[in-house]
Symmetry: C2
Subunit: 717 residues, 2 copies
Amino acid sequence: MDKGRFTLPGETGMEEVIADLVERWGVDAVRDSDGTSLSQDILDMGLQIYSTLCLVREDNEWAKQHPQYRQQIYLMSAPLIVTSKVKTIDIMADFFADQFVPNTDVDIKKYWQVVNRTTGEIVPSAHWSYAEGIVTLEQAEQFHKYTVSFLAYQIWEPVSMYNHITNNWTEEHRLPLDVRYSEAQEHVLKVLKDWLAKHPKTDIVRFTTFFYNFDLIFNKEGKEKQVNWFGYLSCVSPLALDQFEQAYGYRLTAEDFVDQGRYNTPFKNPTPRYLDWMEFNQKFIAGYAKQCVDMVHDFGKKAIMFFGDHWAGTEPYGKYFSEIGLDAVVGAAGDGVTTRMIADIPIKDTEARFYPYFFPDVFFEGGDPVGESMPIWIKCRRALMRKSVGRMGYGGYLSLAYQFPDFIDHVTEIATQFKGIHANAEGTQPYKASFKVAILNTWGYIRSWQTHQVAHSLWNQRCYSYIGALESLAGLPFDIEFISFDDIRQHGIDPSIGVIINAGDVHTSWSGGDHWSDPKVVSSIREWVHQGGGFIGIGDPTAYEHQGVLFQLADILGVQKEMGFTASVNKPKVTPVKEHFITEDLEDDIDYGEGMTMIYQAEAGAEVLDVHHNSCNLAVNSFGQGRGVYIAGLPYSIQNTRLLSRAIFWAAHQEEQLYSWFSVNPNVECHAYPETGRYCAVNNTSETQKTTILMENDLRLELELNGMESVWMDMNM
Amino acid sequence: MDKGRFTLPGETGMEEVIADLVERWGVDAVRDSDGTSLSQDILDMGLQIYSTLCLVREDNEWAKQHPQYRQQIYLMSAPLIVTSKVKTIDIMADFFADQFVPNTDVDIKKYWQVVNRTTGEIVPSAHWSYAEGIVTLEQAEQFHKYTVSFLAYQIWEPVSMYNHITNNWTEEHRLPLDVRYSEAQEHVLKVLKDWLAKHPKTDIVRFTTFFYNFDLIFNKEGKEKQVNWFGYLSCVSPLALDQFEQAYGYRLTAEDFVDQGRYNTPFKNPTPRYLDWMEFNQKFIAGYAKQCVDMVHDFGKKAIMFFGDHWAGTEPYGKYFSEIGLDAVVGAAGDGVTTRMIADIPIKDTEARFYPYFFPDVFFEGGDPVGESMPIWIKCRRALMRKSVGRMGYGGYLSLAYQFPDFIDHVTEIATQFKGIHANAEGTQPYKASFKVAILNTWGYIRSWQTHQVAHSLWNQRCYSYIGALESLAGLPFDIEFISFDDIRQHGIDPSIGVIINAGDVHTSWSGGDHWSDPKVVSSIREWVHQGGGFIGIGDPTAYEHQGVLFQLADILGVQKEMGFTASVNKPKVTPVKEHFITEDLEDDIDYGEGMTMIYQAEAGAEVLDVHHNSCNLAVNSFGQGRGVYIAGLPYSIQNTRLLSRAIFWAAHQEEQLYSWFSVNPNVECHAYPETGRYCAVNNTSETQKTTILMENDLRLELELNGMESVWMDMNM
């Protein structure tokens, strides 16, 4: 196979296997992983050498000698209901003693908070005491609920901890250093310099990542308790709090971090204080990461970052990211959404590390790594067809993966297809609709392809009915933009946008919560739709209880949701419209995921396309020159992808555009590259599919594809 | 049959039928209905004569001559989205022109309001004008939403309108008089006096009802648009507004009535202003109704009121009701809930008017009035067994009903069973649990048996999953009390209460909304449960987003609901407990009605009894000495009734009490009257049922009952 664009996880002792895969997979680079190293023989094979480096856990001895520079975190204890007999809180009762230890080095009366969660009041510090892990409430209200927010040292770097537990490692626990402290900063730079000097063979330093891991908190039993891939909890320290106060003129407290136990999940509309905290850390992290990257460059090496692990504050779609000066970003691609999350980053080069990771949770005797990989690759491939990453790779133990010959063959096929995209597209843009599709939520651009997730590619019951729409979009022929309510307030709606999608549960940042009570937001969108824009709502779009209604743009969507306050009003009995452009290709009942209840026709002219148990699951409406579509939920599936595609073209009043480079059979998708004259038909199922491809100018092609097959063809043939 | 306790709707021309039914049904009283009259022959049959009288529509000529005294109402127009071309609102576009006409006699700039529903601001009166049904916005924000709240005259008394339309009457439309105006008041008293003088044969004046109908608003097409059986909309008038201002020191405006289009549904926690308005009208209505009742008494007749129609402000469970001095209340009983709503009124005597009403919507050729009546009677009978009404009756056209001989036989059976309850109970109390069950919501006692309804016995999708629990309770052996959050704040929890039930959708008055952020409420309930109380939550109990959680008493209920803000936190995988006291008699899957999603185990010790799609539908928990039960919804069914019964006894820690006068087969219920030594087994199905009745002291009785049969037995046999 052509050599190039493939990063292999190497491992000492696997030299012959590597040589074999250089041929079979066209590997041109080799990397180490957490837990593996590369032998001199591997380093001498003439491949590019990627070396993973996690600076904050690199020098464990120094960290042990400087425990004051361990990373910290604010945690909220399990709540206590106070009775005459029970007045003490074991603050670590919910947490993993191997991961955290309360920080009692600080003045705990200043840094910790005991909160009466019944009243929301902070308990005066004189009313509680602390000793040996226990907070005792000296004065408390009977049958009120109390929590303790306490600062804790992180005594086990969480990614290392995760890997350690997953692989039953026995090595010493790694401590994470907090580079906010200048002595730690200087030491880490020195560690980097020494490391660079000692790794002359390394071509590319793969930072995994920089300094602060996303929020990963384990419970008493050492199992994952909560994960917020977008969190900034680990950035906190007394020094950071002081510096923040200097910079912003006010001081954050424990409550700003524990946030009533919600820990500033991105599902919430963020507080201004939290936005300040994010920016404060982004600035610092970009600045200090730049020093590291500059040093790598000084050694004549490239610096890339892993978009994951300690990526807090780097924010590839954030304001400060470009300042870091990275050469590339590599990320884990578990589906189309995460593939696009990597591919769309504004940077020179990108790389996808595909799943499964070569770890024993998948690669065990009797395991089915091909079965694990297949649906992931199908999803990733759709996304790559729209916007490819520069390189592909894997991670983990090659020695494990090599025990599965069918998996080795399977990756050969993936590599062939991956490289085929580059060979045919030649870096040009695929054919796409004449208009952009915008995803509207509170976060906008900074959370591009990062909505409705607690962690990337992780199924969640509150998410899948919405992230499914993004998964569909990842491989559809649209330019996608993520916009915020602030964007609309400040700049209006870009005329290149043809359709806006608002998707999410009520009150979340994804649907938008109280932004929908802002007259500027609703009137701007109304005006834009009235002049011809398309607006698609999924789940609880535009939902905020204001002036007697929940869906603020029911006039556009055509439907409203009954929460009980207008239960007295008779709801129109609707007969679903049987034939519509949007539902033309449906073969089965639509899967709305979690779905909705009591959605009713709110506008006389709205057409309802699907009703279940008196609730409108799918509806369309006209508003001035524009159109609205309501969908109760949209988990990812081939049928839902076609449905969304049709909904978008219909909402944009551009139905005819659907039929360019269109596969009549929805199981097949077609991607065309006009500049290279090549197009590809892709079978997204594991079964043989027949289809007709509608090209342009009424040309059509009958085609049969094997399961998972993708076929490149010439437009002029 | 024994004569007594039966009120028959008479009709001129049906004299022989009446004579027949006096024998077959044991009729002792005859009444007229809206649309029927009683001939002299009927009046002379020796029966008690009930005469319906609706004072506010009695003298239509006088009403026509005094249009200024027609009842009024505040209506909110359909909303308008303003564009450059569209700036006018047809205020009556949503309403029935035969029912309402805008009141332009007043200074409309003072009494009407144009509201910007995008900002919530009232539009300055200089910015709009009105002519011929159209409000023109002279100044308005583009793409904002506007409504007009306008005062309208009611030009068709709504119950009469409903009857008229249902029966295709052709008679003149009746106008409703507003007795708030003293001239109207005096005239109505004169009408009453004349009427009384002219009806010497009348024994009982059946007011239907007094003065102001519940909210019944028809749409443009003359179909029901909305109905709020609990509304006070018709009480409004410029005079009422002035008198209110004098009494309360502030003035109500249009917005206080239209309430963003929600019209103060009881599903909302009421505003203090609305509570004042209710009380203001109750005081006036009780006072003026008393004058009417006194006059009836002066004529040597009895005065009873129909609990329905124009009952606004009479509030049989309100503070001022007893002042009216009525002899009895008669109400429409469409199920167990409405039966108890009548039966439990604190008054000397009560009467149930059973469904179906003898109207052509049920009694038409090919209709099935017996099929209509059967399930209603089964529900009503359960309730009567717990607390009977004094009398039964029907309404409408006897001539219609008499065309259905099987219905005549069916009512013979109902009358036999109804009178049997009185004969066996002899006015004594049935056996019941040693503790009370309290329904906790925002309204408390005044809405006894009036929760979760838009109109009595009317199915509603937002209601049935909750009212079902009340329907079950209507026939279960518990003393039921309706308590409010204010009761708990002011008086704590009565020690006679063993179990509190909180049921309803989030944010509604039925679950309680922001009352759950009151520390006094939650700590009082926690303390009471901790000392042994039982707390049952249905749907969204204790739900209010406060301090990071939705269900404020998750610590008692054992479960919490995920709205998205803690989606990052892993939810425990639970294996349902297979055997539990509560689920012992289940044969089928439980029907939770609308149900809930994403309910998860919140307390480590909670036991989950039923899970569907990762959501806990049924769970139990311990809290101190007390217990909590969570149920996702509880539509009425025999199985759910048994489930609730068991849940209550379990929550109260009184499981053994279940087995006194207990039918092993849940299709049969048993009601015992210890003071008379009689007990009754009732088959609540139309099929034959075998069961074992567990009496007291380990006695048991094997029994077989025909479909619908009820059998009275002696305890000492």
